[in-house]
Symmetry: C2
Subunit: 195 residues, 2 copies
DNA sequence: CGGTTCCTTGAGGATGATCAACGAGGGTGG
DNA sequence: CCACCCTCGTTGATCATCCTCAAGGAACCG
């Protein structure tokens, strides 16, 4: 969990609902708000000139997003959309920065949060760039699996979503999964993937 | 500039010299120190199973590196080597964390620093994944060019280094540069590149 | 000079992207 | 309940691109 909700509201935060696929903010626009997710799931992504998308990250219930641009006074480097219907708390930039100054423990919290994000992004780059499709996909699957359970779990992403995250194409992802099924690295029950 | 040197020394920091190519820390080892560069240049990178390297970042004079792993108590996600001969100030993890607690303005400084790093990494991923070689190389050149000067400057990286950063192969980088020279996007004076 | 390191070129090959088409499932409205 | 639509998954053929491998040349430094 992030900043306490009562605290947020006492500083003037408001809750807003976003329908699936609704844009929360656009790449290259100036950062004006702190966003914290109450319900739903948010996707941050970029699109190249041919429209191919690259998913930078997913954020879910309890997480915040878009803070870096806020802190360094830059434009958003990516677009955020509601991946599922969302309820999100919005707080103005100024008040967010004031909260950071006011509550050192919150500032420390964000320091750790950002450290974690950098760590994740570094790992991601390492796993995507210079690596073969199967390696990228396995890295994605491992990153999503929150813990180190041995049992197989349903992968809750479409092949397109996995493609967008790994920098591959749908067809490639599908073909890799077929091969992984043959070699028993995953299980497939009517098109659902278990890993 | 980062943490004040006198302050660092008063907390028990020591200066250490590293010869070019000397390893400062290895990927997957636990983070024990805060590093701040006095002189020289450091490269952080990963290598895939076939030995191909991917440069995560360069750090130069006045910059610090390796803090995220320190803050979240994880292993380093990449290896750091002296890219040039270096003088580096090392401070133990415990004392680094104490300094953060002791001096709120330093903590804030690192919050901004990490925000900047995330911003850079996000941009990088966007520019590398899903993009054509020329696009990647131009992104690299722009990222290195500290400011928006119009005049052409010498690019102080070998083709191999650019390849390692962009996830390409040397030969590809060379061929792209040849084409960029033809279309006057860069200048080349006996193998030196100006952009 | 002699030895590195870096740059360059060409030929060939592998791999993932692209394009096109179709199948399967799930939900909605008539 | 059926027909339709829409999203998602699947397959095959073809193509372009970048990688790989091999060889040699240029620049630089002690």
């Amino acid at each position: 969990m992030q900043i306490d909700l009562d605290l947020l509201y006492s500083w003037g935060a408001v809750t807003k609902e976003y329908k699936k696929n609704e844009v929360i903010f656009h790449e290259d626009t100036t950062a004006g708000f702190y966003y914290q997710i109450l319900e739903g799931c948010v996707r941050m992504f970029n699109a190249n000139d041919k429209g191919k998308e690259f998913t930078q990250a997913y954020f879910t219930c309890g997480q915040s997003f878009g803070e870096p641009a806020l802190l360094i006074d830059k434009e958003y480097p990516a677009t955020a959309v509601a991946f599922r219907d969302c309820k999100i708390v919005k707080l103005s930039k100024d008040n967010f920065l004031k909260i950071l100054d006011e509550y050192p423990f919150i500032q420390k919290h964000f320091l750790n949060l950002l450290a974690n994000r950098i760590y994740t992004k570094t790992k991601l780059a390492k796993d995507i760039i210079n690596q073969k499709p199967e390696f990228r996909i396995i890295a994605f699957l491992n990153a999503q699996k929150n813990c180190g359970k041995d049992e197989k779990h349903l992968v809750p992403y479409t092949r397109q979503e996995i493609a967008n995250f790994t920098g591959l194409r749908v067809e490639t992802v599908i073909r890799v999964f077929s091969r992984m099924k043959e070699s028993n690295k995953i299980e497939m029950v009517n098109h659902k993937i278990y890993y």
